[in-house]
């Protein structure tokens, strides 16, 4: 070994050999080869790299004089090391490629799942809306018409009965009973129209959803018993942020917030036994904030129970929103939903 060959000179020769191997592999398209072509190209690359290294060692006088045995053995070691390097490189590259493919596949699957979920939600909303409108329109109208017809039949029966009494001085024995039964039927139809249809429709699609969050919230609170005091504070910015004549919040996000309000009101009345509810809807720092305070029993000690809000919280988080529970200045619980705009 040359006495003057320092560490830097040796590294220069070895580094050049590695660079030659890398350049050779790239130029010969090693990563694209398969089978015997791969073996051939790998061998050619390894031999080239070993030769480059040997030539540089001779030029830079790494060894004192030329010795076939030493140089031949060194070249063989160089070829072997390069081949091992190539094999390791190919294995790593293949693993990375597989990881990239898997990542891309997973991303595509997530995208497809998200698209499918969106389509499903849109379809669900469409069907819910159609059924709700059908209940409001067709079914309600049919019930109104049925009531009018029943009223007309009752009126005719009463007139006929009055005529019979005037002309013959007697009442038909069953007429009054029939009129009474028809009256009762009118009552049933009216209850069905007023409560059954409306409540069913509300379950499908919160009333006023298409008119914006502010309207639908007002409509939800107006249906509470008069013994419950309510306070509403809806900022003008909310009317602008959720203008139903424009894109607004979008029907899905609006319904989600209305379901949160519905559940929060229900919890306040059922579990908290509240007598006062204060709803505030505002826009602050790019977020739409819906806050419901109550004067009920408040949250139990420890981890607050979410009741039906748990599922809604998951859905809120999925769209980048949040749900918080805490103590209300009114003495009861506070539910806050914050939705980024």
């Amino acid at each position: 070994m040359g006495e003057g060959a320092d560490f830097g000179t040796r590294m220069l020769a070895n580094g050049s050999a590695v660079a030659a191997a890398a350049l050779g592999a790239a130029a010969l398209g090693l990563h694209r080869r398969r089978g015997w072509r791969l073996v051939l190209v790998a061998a050619a690359t390894a031999i080239t790299a070993a030769l480059v290294r040997m030539c540089l060692q001779l030029l830079l006088v790494v060894y004192d004089g030329f010795d076939w045995d030493t140089s031949g053995a060194d070249a063989c070691v160089g070829v072997a090391v390069t081949l091992v390097g190539i094999v390791i490189g190919l294995v790593v590259m293949k693993a990375q490629r597989r990881a990239r493919v898997e990542e891309r596949t997973a991303l595509l699957q997530r995208l497809h799942a998200s698209d499918a979920l969106d389509a499903l939600q849109s379809e669900e909303l469409r069907v819910r809306r159609a059924v709700a409108e059908g209940l409001h329109g067709t079914v309600q109208q049919q019930l109104v018409l049925m009531r009018i017809r029943l009223d007309s039949i009752i009126a005719r029966m009463r007139r006929a009965d009055a005529d019979a009494q005037a002309e013959h001085g007697v009442q038909h024995p069953g007429t009054q009973q029939l009129i009474g039964e028809l009256d009762a039927l009118v009552g049933v139809v009216e209850v069905l129209r007023e409560r059954g249809v409306r409540e069913l429709s509300q379950l499908l699609y919160p009333a006023g959803t298409d008119l914006g969050l502010a309207q639908a919230s007002r409509m939800m609170l107006r249906g509470l018993p008069p013994s419950i005091a309510t306070r509403l504070d809806i900022a003008d910015a909310v009317l602008e942020a959720d203008d139903p004549s424009g894109p607004g919040l979008g029907i899905e996000r609006r319904i989600l917030l209305l379901r949160v309000l519905e559940e929060a009101v229900s919890n306040a009345l059922r579990h908290g036994r509240a007598s006062t509810l204060a709803l505030r809807i505002a826009v602050e720092r790019g977020e739409l904030l819906l806050t419901l305070d109550d004067d009920g029993a408040g949250l139990p000690e420890g981890e607050p129970s979410l009741h039906g809000l748990a599922l809604l919280r998951t859905r809120l988080i999925a769209i980048g929103a949040r749900l918080e529970l805490g103590r209300s200045p009114l003495g009861g619980a506070r539910v806050l939903a914050a939705l980024p705009l």
Binding site: G137, A214, S245
Partner: protein, 222 residues
């Protein structure tokens, strides 16, 4: 806006997307000497094109139009013609819409439901009152409303609530006096007491504001 002493017929625009309902409404209004339909439109875009400022006294707008919302249409028509009265019609109970109207157009808006027992008489009363800048609410829906606990409305006496309900039906002071068998002076006193209880400043808009409180501070709990 306000018809003169000769009582020229009210010029009415009917904007309704259901052809049968629109035709029936137009027929009803044209058959009455108190009203004359000057514009008939099936949608918001057509209404915006055809309702010219100063040509219509009251616009009857269906809230759910095929190409838009009757409330948004009413706001833009009113801004173009500050004297225009707007009567909203809906097959749903969405009276709360009146609460979110911009303050510059809040006067002279009324609401009647298509599904309650609205009679032709109550329609004509509502049209006249709306043209005069008053606010009329659906009598049946108001009849079902109960003042909410803790609200200023809940502090009104039965008589005061009765007077306010009749104001919401579109009756003038004289009309309320006649209905209740009281003097107009008594009705004025009741109204002033109502404004004070609701903490409303006396003025032209107090009447409208007091009527809107009937929506805001009541429950329609079935």
């Amino acid at each position: 806006m306000i018809p003169g002493p000769a009582r020229a017929p009210l010029r009415v625009a009917v904007v309704e997307d259901q052809p049968l309902y629109r035709a029936m409404l137009v027929q009803l209004l044209d058959a009455d000497p108190r009203t004359e339909v000057v514009v008939e439109a099936s949608g918001a875009a057509e209404a915006r094109r055809r309702i010219m400022p100063g040509r219509v006294d009251v616009a009857i707008l269906d809230i759910e139009l095929g190409d838009g919302n009757g409330v948004g249409l009413g706001v833009s028509l009113r801004r173009a013609d500050p004297d225009l009265g707007v009567l909203l019609l809906s097959s749903r109970d969405v009276m709360e819409l009146l609460l979110d109207l911009p303050s510059d157009v809040r006067r002279g808006w009324s609401y009647l439901s298509k599904t309650t027992s609205t009679s032709p008489d109550s329609l004509f009363t509502a049209l006249t009152a709306t043209a005069e800048g008053r606010t009329v609410l659906d009598p049946e829906l108001i009849g079902r409303s109960v003042p909410r606990a803790g609200s200023a409305l809940a502090r009104l006496s039965d008589r005061q609530l009765q007077v306010l309900t009749l104001v919401a039906e579109g009756l003038s002071n004289a009309g309320i006096a006649e209905r209740l068998g009281l003097s107009s002076r008594s009705i004025e006193n009741h109204l002033n007491a109502i404004y004070a209880a609701l903490e409303l400043p006396e003025g032209h808009n107090s009447r409208v504001s007091a009527v809107l409180r009937l929506i805001e501070e009541t429950s329609r709990f079935a």
